[in-house]
Amino acid sequence: MSRSVNRTPSPVAWVVAFVVIAFIGFADAMYLTASHYIGALPTCTIVEGCDEVALSEYSTIGPVPVALFGVIFYTVMLVASVIWLDVRKPVALRYLPFLTVPAFFFSLWLVYLMLFVIEAICIYCFVSAGTTTLLMLLSLHLRRVV
């Protein structure tokens, strides 16, 4: 990749893509976190199907909703990308896989719980799993191109 850098998208393009995806994840996690704090215990609604995922014991770690970890995770991703866009030091992005890879496996675990343990679908959780996966792939790629 680095040898044909002229014909591949510039690192900036990759980082911008990374930022866009992190924003999607941030919005999603923000929504879930807000729902958690606003909506008391999520119930099953006529319109949205059932929110039992958010009700389950797996939706929080201690008193902290899992979605809040998502908000923090995506915030870190965004800040790191902007640091790179600002100072262009590879170090800003080099260590991201240490976060994105565990986050990916955590997402996988959540999807597993959703499908096989809680047996319910939460579309927002799928979105988050998708963005986490993309961020992991991008972060692995970025550490080679920046």
């Binding site: 929504y31 606003i38 006529i46 039992e52 389950s56 965004l78 600002d86």
Partner: protein, 229 residues
């Protein structure tokens, strides 16, 4: 310097905008089409429907309600619920516990609000109603809730039948009752009442006519109920 300012300013602004929009979205309640929608707002702690006479009448205990507890209690808990909803299962177990603890002080009432997004909700409601005709509503209610995960994603009817048999119901009578259209009508009537009250999620719980914000622990639920004493 300008670039730096734009980058960081842009990030902070964009995150703030996204955060505000998402909080707004999360706060937005789906609107029910019913014109008689009672003033319920699940975001407020206890949205009162007291001022609404229609709601008061609907929530008054009825002769044919499924009740548990003291009929003369000062505190009346009316719950609109669905048998396949996991949150309802959670509340059913809390009601069961509190029904025993507070049997003298509280009257618990169960009303049907079977959501269409669940495959077996209505069937479960019919089975409890049919069991209820032989005096075993609550036992069927308990069996169905306790075993919810067993029947939710499979062919539920044989499992429900098995429950009916284990309660030693008169199965011939039971089958006739299952087919009785008035049984379905009763479930529909509960559902319509729930719609008039503005129920849009299950379980929706009313204590002495007030829609409450669903408590998320047994202790919180007990305290809330006792606060109405």
């Amino acid at each position: 310097m300008n670039k730096r300012f734009a980058l960081w300013g842009g990030l902070v602004l964009a995150m703030a905008v996204v955060a505000v929009v998402m909080v707004r979205l999360a706060d937005e309640e789906p609107q029910l089409p019913q014109p008689e929608r009672a003033a319920i707002n699940s975001n407020s702690d206890a949205a009162a429907v007291n001022g609404n006479n229609g709601a008061t009448a609907i929530l008054a205990p009825r002769e044919n309600d499924w009740k548990k507890g003291n009929p003369d209690a000062d505190v009346v808990v009316v719950k609109y619920s669905d048998f396949q909803c996991p949150a309802c299962r959670f509340y059913a177990s809390m009601d069961d516990q509190l029904g025993k603890e507070l049997a003298d002080d509280v009257l618990f009432i169960y009303r049907h609000f079977p959501l269409r997004n669940f495959q077996h909700s209505r069937l479960a409601a019919r089975y409890t109603e049919a069991a209820g005709r032989q005096g075993e509503f609550w036992k069927m209610h308990d069996l169905i809730f306790i075993n919810q995960q067993r029947w939710s994603r499979t062919d539920a009817e044989p499992i429900f039948r098995h429950f009916a048999e284990s309660l030693e119901l008169d199965m011939e009578q039971f089958d006739r009752d299952l087919e009785d259209p008035t049984l379905e009508e009763r479930i529909d009537a509960d559902y319509r009442d729930g719609q008039r009250l503005g129920v849009r999620a299950v379980p929706t719980i009313f204590i002495n006519g007030e829609a409450i914000r669903s408590p998320n622990s047994l202790d919180a639920y007990r305290d809330l109920i006792l606060s109405y004493k």
